[in-house]
């Protein structure tokens, strides 16, 4: 409970800092965001490529510059700062892989995700559908380890289901069903999906 309260307070603070950067180019607030997010963005990069510290530094730098440039378009009612930074880091990681020639197309992360950022005519309703940070943390804490491990592979290490299946030595169907079970247990999806 104490921990949940701390996380909620921290999130509130992060939102204030991000809004200050967006509204008044507040450098002190940006320094706080730098302090909080750079180690996490690097950890996210290292989860995919352990030991690649230069890649991790590049990604962290790129994402921080995006945070500075895009802070004005951040809408605190549609996403908390953790979600927003995660999507920036995810997109930057996809584009970095593409630049390094791993992807043989000119499709970039913006083609895949950009058009989703405004959610339609009713942002209030969109905000209503979000879960609280505490609910997600509580849900993660009660997941069986085998399900949490698969989420970790897919979200943090960036592995496709096929790669996860090879690395965990499990059938592809087991990977997929563990993910579906985890999402169900966390009540993450609406509409019975």
């Amino acid at each position: 409970m104490v921990q949940a309260q701390q996380k909620a307070d921290q999130q509130k603070q992060l939102k204030l800092w991000l809004s200050a950067v967006g509204q008044s180019r507040d450098r002190a607030a940006f320094a706080k965001l730098f302090e909080h997010y750079v180690p996490l963005i690097r950890a996210y990069s290292l989860a995919q490529e352990p030991g690649a510290t230069l890649v991790a530094d590049d990604l962290a730098q790129e994402v921080m510059i995006k945070i500075w440039n895009k802070a004005g378009s951040y809408n605190s009612s549609l996403a908390n700062t953790n979600t927003w930074v995660f999507t920036l880091a995810r997109n930057a990681r996809i584009d970095a892989l593409r630049r390094n020639g791993r992807y043989n197309t000119n499709i970039d992360a913006d083609d895949l995700f950009e058009h989703l950022e405004d959610d339609g005519p009713d942002p209030f309703q969109a905000a209503q559908t979000l879960m609280t940070q505490e609910t997600i943390h509580a849900g993660l804490a009660q997941l069986p380890k085998e399900q949490a491990d698969v989420l970790h592979k897919v979200y943090l290490q960036g592995r496709s289901h096929q790669q996860a299946s090879e690395e965990l030595r499990l059938p592809l169907g087991t990977i997929k069903s563990r993910i579906r079970l985890a999402l169900k247990k966390m009540h993450l999806l609406m509409g019975g999906q």
Partner: protein, 235 residues
């Protein structure tokens, strides 16, 4: 028509995680443009990503300093209100809208691959009722293509190789399980067997993402496999 076929949680979460092969991501992205329920679930799955990221052991940088970063920020070209990607083509001076563009009917996520509408693509005839246009091959060698099926065309019963995605862009078709309309998303694997038939009143255009170049496959692919066995080669 209501959308009845959605990507399941394992597909949608891999998309939100950014770990799906790009071709498959495109197919999910196109579906989301038609489906507000999946957009909402996508938001929640992105939230999950944000919170999972917080569970990582922080890895502070030895090299990256705030001063150096601010120096880079201060020397970057003046930013217009929205960040413009350095290498990016600016695709959309017009205001953003979520529904696929009304003029061309092409979902926004596919417009780089289909810049001038479906009719301007290079279509190859594969059988009397089917034409195809390849859009790209992705990082995993998956083939992203459109299939265009004449009204009322039917196929022999077929099965699938691996994961194969199909999304209806225009028109509709049906099989033993039901009727599929624009926006419907289907993932098939080797356990699925079915016999699709395009609706009789208008042609049907589908986006498919299939294993390539093993053999012609996909939701509609087996329509022309009997022709291949007889030595017919698509041009």
């Amino acid at each position: 028509m209501a959308i009845t076929q959605h990507p399941s949680g394992d597909w949608l979460s891999a998309y939100a995680a950014g770990s799906l092969p790009l071709g498959q991501s495109l197919c999910v992205a196109a579906h989301l443009e038609y489906c507000s329920q999946c957009r909402q679930n996508y938001s929640r799955l992105s939230q999950l990503g944000g919170e999972l990221m917080q569970t990582l052991e922080p890895a502070p940088s030895q090299k990256l300093s705030l001063e150096a970063l601010m120096a880079r920020i201060d020397t970057q070209p003046e930013q217009p209100p929205q960040d413009i990607e350095a290498e990016g083509l600016d695709l959309s001076p017009e205001p953003r809208q979520l529904s696929p563009d009304n003029n061309s009917g092409v979902p926004r996520s596919l417009r780089k691959l289909i810049p001038n509408g479906y009719d301007k693509l290079k279509w190859s005839r594969i059988s009397w009722s089917i034409r195809s246009a390849e859009l790209c091959r992705d990082d995993k060698g998956l083939k992203v293509e459109l299939l265009r099926i004449k009204p009322g065309g039917a196929s022999p019963k077929h099965t699938h190789l691996g994961d194969e995605l199909t999304m209806v862009l225009q028109g509709s078709f049906s099989d033993e399980e039901g009727v599929y309309h624009a926006g419907d998303f289907m993932a098939c694997d080797q356990t699925d067997t079915h016999t699709p038939v395009a609706s009789v009143d208008r042609e049907c255009i589908c986006l498919t993402v299939t294993q390539a170049p093993i053999q012609l496959s996909g939701f509609f692919g087996r329509w022309f496999n009997p022709l291949l066995r007889r030595g017919y080669t698509p041009s």
